[in-house]
C-alpha cells in the first residue's frame, strides 16, 4: 500500500452520489415567487380530494376502514410474541412446566425467576415462577428452549397496567382449568415442525 492512500483521511465520502434536488431559493424575491407558485396551483386541494372521496365512501357507501379499538381488535398472527402463556397437560390438567430452569437460563434480559422444591410426591414442584414484564423484550427464546412446550407466547399484547408485576404470576399465565379444552398449541419457534415425525430416530423398546 502506498503512503498516499494512508494519508487520505477523507474516508467514506468517496462514493457518494449527489441527487438533483433543484435548489432552494436564496433571495427574497426567489422565495416570494416559490410561495406564490405553490398557492396558485392549489396543491392543497389535490390532497383533499383523496380525503373527501374516502370520507364519502365511509359515511354513505358503508366502506369504513377504521377499527374501533378497544371495542374491536384486528386478528393477529398466531406466531405473534406477546404476554406468555403457561400450558397444561390435556390429560391431567397438571401444568406442563417441569422446573428445569432453561427459560431462566436462556433469558437474555434476565427477567425469569423460578423456585422449585422436592414435594411430598417426590416430584419437582414449581413453587414460584415470575416474569418481570418491565424487562422482557419478547424475544421468544424461553418458548424456543422449553423442552415441554410449557411456556409459549400468547396474543395478549395489551400490557398497560397499574403494576408492572401484573400478568407475571404463574397462576395468571396458566390456562384456566375451564378453558382447558380450548387450549391451543403454539405454532411458533420451539414447536414441533410438520416434518418432525420423519426426522426422529425411534428408540427401540423391549416391551
Amino acid at each position: 500500500m502506498s503512503l498516499d492512500k494512508l494519508k487520505n483521511r477523507n474516508v467514506g465520502v468517496q462514493n457518494y452520489k449527489m441527487l438533483d434536488l433543484g435548489h432552494t431559493p436564496e433571495s427574497g424575491w426567489g422565495k416570494f415567487k416559490q410561495v406564490l407558485k405553490r398557492s396558485v396551483k392549489l396543491e392543497l386541494f389535490v390532497g383533499l380530494k383523496v380525503t373527501i372521496r374516502e370520507m364519502f365512501k365511509a359515511l354513505f357507501m358503508g366502506e369504513m376502514h377504521t377499527v374501533k379499538y378497544p371495542f374491536e381488535k384486528l386478528p393477529i398472527s398466531p406466531r405473534y410474541r406477546a404476554i406468555h402463556e403457561m400450558k397444561r397437560l390435556l390429560e391431567s390438567g397438571h401444568y406442563r412446566c417441569i422446573g428445569c430452569g432453561l427459560c431462566e437460563k436462556i433469558c437474555i434480559s434476565n427477567c425469569i425467576k423460578m423456585d422449585t422444591r422436592y414435594d411430598e410426591e417426590q416430584r419437582k414442584e414449581v413453587s414460584d415462577y415470575t416474569i418481570n414484564f418491565g424487562r422482557c423484550i419478547f424475544c421468544g427464546y424461553c418458548a424456543e428452549v422449553c423442552p415441554e412446550l410449557a411456556i409459549v407466547h400468547g396474543g395478549r399484547y395489551e400490557t398497560a397496567s397499574e403494576q408492572r408485576a401484573s400478568y407475571s404470576n404463574f397462576e395468571d399465565m396458566l390456562t384456566p382449568m375451564d378453558e382447558l379444552m380450548n387450549q391451543k398449541e403454539y405454532p411458533g419457534f420451539g414447536a414441533p415442525t410438520p416434518v418432525a415425525d420423519k426426522n426422529i430416530k425411534k428408540t427401540p423398546l423391549a416391551y
Partner: protein, 819 residues
C-alpha cells in the same frame, strides 16, 4: 513406589511419569483427555465403566489400571476404541430417564457430557426396565436407583477413602441379556452391560439405612443425579449457583471447598449458600465441611453505639478470651492489641498445643514438625498416637484408611477409647487400647520397634532393655508322626502292618522375648512378635500421626521430647494434628497467657463483653464464611478463605481503626503475619486457591520450617500414672467441632454423653457428670463404635466451658450419677 522417572508417548506427546503410575493419571497430569467415568484419582480402579480403553503398544488396555512402562506408545483414540466407547455410552443411556430437566445433576452430569462427547444420537439396544426405588439412606443422603448407572464410584470412595464401607452393590433383579448380543455388540460394552444389569447400590449393613459418618462424599463423586444431598434436592440448578472457592473452617485440615450461593428465593433476594462442593479427585471432605455451611451471622448491622462500646470494652479489658475458629489476620490483630495495651490473650484450645510445639521445637531444633500429612499418602505403614481418629480429624482418618487400602499398608492405633471402625480399615492393623496416662509407653514401644538403636541415648536404651524379659509360652505345632496300623486285606484276609505318616498337633513350651510395654498397652505379648513381623513385610516408608491427647497431657513436655527422639532415630515421617481449626496459626501468631485477669472480652467465647459471630453477643463480627482471610492448616499451609455471603456489620478491623491501629481492609493484615515464624510477606490477592491436574495442591503457601536453637532431648523417667475409675474423655461427635457446626441445620449430632452400648445401658437416659470443679447434666447417647468404659463428653458448646471442667487434660476422673 520408586521415584524413577520414565517416558511414555501418549498420542505423540512425550510425557514424563513416575514408574508404576497408571496411564490415565499420566495423561491427566499432561492435559491429555481420556474419558473415564468410574475411576477416582486416589482410589483403586473399579473397572466398571470400561470407557477409559486405550491402545498401549498395540494392545487394548484400560488406562485406569494399566501401569505406564518406559517407552510405551499409547493411542487414546482409534476407530475401534471409539466404537466401543460409543456402544458403552449407548448402553448407559438404555432405560436412563430422559427428563434431564428435573434432575439435579442436569448441566454437570457426566452421563450427559459423555453422551454428547461420543456423539450418541441414536439407540441400538433395549432391555425391559426393572422398578428401582427412591430411598433416603440417612438424614442427609438420598439415593434414586432409577438414575444410577452403577459406576460404583460411591462404593469405591466409601471404602478406599472414607473407610466406612457403608455401601456395596446389591442385586438388581433385572432381565438377563440376550445371548446373541454377545456376538453382535462390542465386547466391552456387553461385559459392562451384563454387570450393570445385575446390580444396584445398597447399604452394606443389610438394612435400608447406611450406618456411616454422613460425610456425603458419595454424593459428591456421583457422576449422575442418583446420589444427592437430601436438603439440596430440586432446589437449584448448578448453573444458577455462584461458585466461591474457599477453605472449610471447622477443623485443622482446612480442606478446599466451593461454597455455592444463589439468591434464596424470588421473595428473598439475599444470597444464601445452597451447598458445598469439593475437588473430590484431590481432597476428601467430611460431613461437617459438606453440611455445616450455614453458620453465617445474619443479625449484624452497623451500629456506631455498639462499636463505641466494643472499643471501650477492649480498652478496659484485662483479658481477651478466644478460640481457634479465627483467621490468621484476626489473630494478628489480637496479638497487636496485646503488644499495644498489654491485654492478656487466653485460648484454652490452643495454649497446651503451643506449649507442646515449643517443647518439641527446643528438642528438635526446628519450629514445626518435619513433614505434612500431604506427604504421607505414599507411606505404607502408619502409626497413630493420641488421636481419636474417627472424631478428631477426618483428614487424618481418611489418610490412615487410604494407606491401608491403596498401599497395602499396615497400621498401629494407640488409644484408650476402643473403636471398632479402625480395625476394619485393613487386614494388618494392630490396635492398642491402653490406659489413659500410658501414652509415654506407647512412644517407647515405637522407639523399641523402629529406632536405630545406635542413635538412642543410653538411658532410653536401658529403659527399653528393662522392658524385655524371657518368658515361655505354649505353642501348638504340627508334627508328622509315624503310626503303625494293622490292616486286613479284604480279598485275601491277610493281616498286614502298614506304617503311615499322620499329622498331629503337639503342644510345646517355647521360650520367647516378651515385651512388657506391649502388655502394658493392652496387647498380647505372646502373639505380638509374630503379628508385628507380618505387618512389617515389604514396608518401606513410615508415618506417625500425633494427636490432641498429647498436648492436653500432664507429661506433654516428655512426650514432645520423645517425639523429637523418634523423629531423630527412626525413618518416620511425623506430623501433628492441631487440636482445632486454626490452632497452628494461633499458636504461631499469638503469644498466649495461662489465666484470665481483670474483665474479659470474649472473641466467639462467652465473657463479660462478648464479640461474637454467632449473632448472640454484644458486638457482631463476620463468621468464617462471610470474611476474607487466611487460615493455617495441619499441612503447615496458609490457605485463603473467601467471603461467600454478604455481611453488613463491623469487623475487628473497624475496632482496630477506632483504636488507631487499623488498616484499610482486614486482608491488609495478611502481609503482616510474622515472618520469624515462617509466614511470608504475601498479599492476600496473590494467594492461589486450587489444584493442578497432576494432583499438586496450589493453595496459598507452605510455612517455612525455621530452625531454632536446639537444647537437646531430655527424656524423663516414666512414672506409672495411668488413670483408674470412671473416666470421661473430651471428644466431639463426628461432624461437630464448634459452635458454628452446631448452628448448621444439617448437622444433627447432639450435645450428649457418648458411650458404648453396654455402658449407656448402665447409665440410663440422662446423667449428671461431676468433675473436680463443677458438673454437667447430659443426655446419654449410644455410639455403637465405642468399646470400653470411658465415656466421651463433647466440647463444641463454648458456653458450657467444658475446657474449664477438664483443665489441661483430655481425660478426667468423674463421678456419673443417673438423674
Amino acid at each position: 513406589m520408586s521415584d524413577n522417572l520414565i517416558t511414555v508417548t501418549i498420542d505423540g506427546i512425550e510425557c514424563k511419569a513416575k514408574e508404576g503410575e497408571y496411564i490415565l493419571n499420566v495423561a491427566r497430569a499432561n492435559d491429555i483427555f481420556i474419558p473415564a467415568i468410574c475411576y477416582l484419582t486416589r482410589c483403586s480402579p473399579t473397572l466398571a465403566c470400561r470407557i477409559c480403553l486405550v491402545e498401549a503398544d498395540g494392545k487394548r488396555v484400560y488406562s485406569c489400571n494399566a501401569k505406564a512402562k518406559d517407552g510405551m506408545e499409547i493411542v487414546t483414540q482409534t476407530e475401534e476404541i471409539l466404537e466401543e466407547r460409543r456402544a458403552i455410552m449407548e448402553v448407559y443411556d438404555v432405560n436412563h430417564p430422559l427428563q434431564c430437566g428435573v434432575c439435579d445433576q442436569h448441566g454437570e452430569c457426566e452421563l450427559q457430557n459423555y453422551t454428547l462427547e461420543l456423539k450418541v444420537d441414536s439407540q441400538h439396544y433395549a432391555i425391559a426396565d426393572t422398578k428401582r426405588g427412591n430411598v433416603n439412606w440417612s438424614s442427609v443422603l438420598h439415593y434414586d436407583a432409577g438414575l444410577c448407572i452403577v459406576c460404583e464410584r460411591c462404593v469405591t470412595v466409601c471404602k478406599d477413602m472414607i473407610g466406612d464401607a457403608a455401601i456395596k452393590t446389591g442385586p438388581r433383579g433385572g432381565d438377563k441379556l440376550d445371548k446373541e448380543l454377545k456376538d453382535s455388540m462390542p465386547k466391552d460394552a456387553y461385559a459392562m452391560w451384563n454387570k450393570l444389569q445385575k446390580s444396584v447400590i445398597v447399604p452394606s449393613n443389610g438394612t435400608e439405612h447406611t450406618n456411616c459418618s454422613d460425610c456425603g462424599e458419595c454424593t459428591a463423586v456421583c457422576p449422575v443425579g442418583a446420589l444427592t444431598e437430601r436438603d439440596f434436592i430440586y432446589k437449584a440448578n448448578p448453573w444458577d449457583l455462584r461458585e466461591i472457592p474457599s477453605a472449610c473452617a471447622h477443623c485443622s485440615s482446612a480442606c478446599h471447598i466451593y461454597y455455592e450461593t444463589r439468591a434464596e428465593s424470588i421473595d428473598n433476594p439475599t444470597e444464601k449458600i445452597f451447598r458445598v462442593k469439593n475437588e473430590w479427585n484431590y481432597q476428601t471432605l467430611c460431613g461437617a465441611g459438606r453440611f455445616g455451611y450455614d453458620y453465617e451471622n445474619t443479625t449484624a448491622k452497623k451500629d456506631p453505639e455498639a462499636l463505641a462500646k466494643a472499643v471501650e470494652a477492649i480498652k478496659s479489658a484485662g483479658t481477651i478470651k478466644f478460640n481457634s475458629t479465627i483467621t490468621n489476620e484476626e489473630a494478628k490483630m489480637l496479638q497487636t492489641l496485646k503488644e499495644k495495651f498489654g491485654v492478656k490473650l487466653v485460648n484454652n484450645e490452643v495454649k497446651p498445643f503451643a506449649d507442646f510445639l515449643s517443647h518439641y521445637s527446643k528438642a528438635a531444633g526446628q519450629m514445626l514438625y518435619k513433614d505434612s500429612f500431604a506427604d504421607m499418602s505414599e507411606c505404607d505403614f502408619i502409626v497413630s498416637v493420641g488421636a481419636k481418629l474417627r472424631n478428631d480429624n477426618p483428614a487424618a482418618r481418611y489418610l490412615f484408611n487410604n494407606i491401608q487400602k491403596m498401599n497395602k499398608g499396615a497400621g498401629m492405633y494407640f488409644h484408650p477409647v476402643g473403636d471398632t471402625l479402625i480395625p476394619t480399615f485393613g487386614k494388618s492393623i494392630q490396635t492398642f487400647e491402653h490406659k489413659p496416662g500410658d501414652e509415654e509407653s506407647a512412644l517407647l514401644l515405637i522407639l523399641d520397634l523402629f529406632a536405630d538403636k545406635d542413635k538412642l541415648p543410653d538411658d532410653v536404651k536401658a529403659k527399653l532393655d528393662a522392658s524385655k524379659e524371657k518368658r515361655t509360652k505354649t505353642v501348638t505345632e504340627k508334627v508328622m508322626e509315624e503310626v503303625t496300623e494293622t490292616v486286613v486285606d479284604k480279598e485275601t484276609g491277610e493281616e498286614k502292618e502298614v506304617t503311615k505318616k499322620v499329622p498331629k498337633n503337639v503342644k510345646k513350651e517355647v521360650e520367647y522375648e516378651a515385651n512388657s510395654l506391649v502388655e502394658k498397652l493392652g496387647a498380647n505379648p505372646e502373639t505380638f512378635e509374630d503379628d508385628f513381623a507380618k505387618m512389617m513385610k515389604k514396608k518401606e516408608s513410615f508415618a506417625l500421626v500425633v494427636g490432641e491427647d498429647f498436648y492436653f497431657h500432664p507429661k506433654s513436655k516428655n512426650l514432645a521430647n520423645l517425639i523429637a527422639l523418634i523423629e531423630e532415630s527412626t525413618e518416620f515421617k511425623v506430623a501433628f494434628i492441631p487440636p482445632k481449626s486454626n490452632a497452628l496459626g494461633v499458636a504461631l501468631i499469638c503469644d498466649l497467657d495461662e489465666t484470665c485477669e481483670g474483665s474479659t472480652v470474649g472473641y466467639n467465647e462467652p465473657a463479660d463483653f462478648t464479640i461474637s459471630a454467632l449473632g448472640n453477643g454484644d458486638f457482631d463480627i463476620p463468621a468464617m464464611n462471610q470474611q476474607e482471610g487466611t487460615t493455617t492448616n495441619m499441612n503447615k499451609r496458609v490457605v485463603p478463605l473467601n467471603a461467600a455471603l454478604d455481611y453488613n456489620g463491623y469487623e475487628l478491623n473497624d475496632i482496630m481503626n477506632a483504636l488507631g491501629l487499623g488498616k484499610n481492609l482486614t486482608i491488609d493484615w495478611t502481609e503482616c503475619l510474622p515472618t520469624d515464624k515462617g509466614f511470608q510477606l504475601a498479599k492476600f490477592d496473590d494467594l492461589p486457591n486450587g489444584f493442578r491436574n497432576d494432583k499438586t495442591e496450589n493453595r496459598g503457601y507452605v510455612l517455612a520450617n525455621l530452625s531454632v536453637e536446639k537444647s537437646g532431648i531430655e527424656i524423663e523417667d516414666i512414672e506409672d500414672n495411668a488413670l483408674e475409675g470412671d473416666i470421661a474423655y473430651r471428644c466431639n461427635p463426628q461432624r461437630q467441632f464448634n459452635d458454628f457446626t452446631n448452628k448448621a441445620h444439617q448437622i444433627f449430632e447432639k450435645f450428649a454423653l457418648y458411650a458404648s452400648k453396654e455402658r449407656a445401658e448402665q447409665l440410663g437416659d440422662f446423667v449428671k457428670v461431676e468433675f473436680e470443679n463443677g458438673g454437667l447434666e447430659l443426655p446419654v447417647e449410644v455410639d455403637e463404635r465405642i468399646t470400653g468404659d470411658i465415656v466421651e463428653i463433647p466440647d463444641f458448646k463454648s458456653e458450657l466451658d467444658v475446657y474449664g471442667l477438664f483443665g489441661k487434660d483430655r481425660y478426667a476422673k468423674v463421678t456419673i450419677t443417673k438423674v
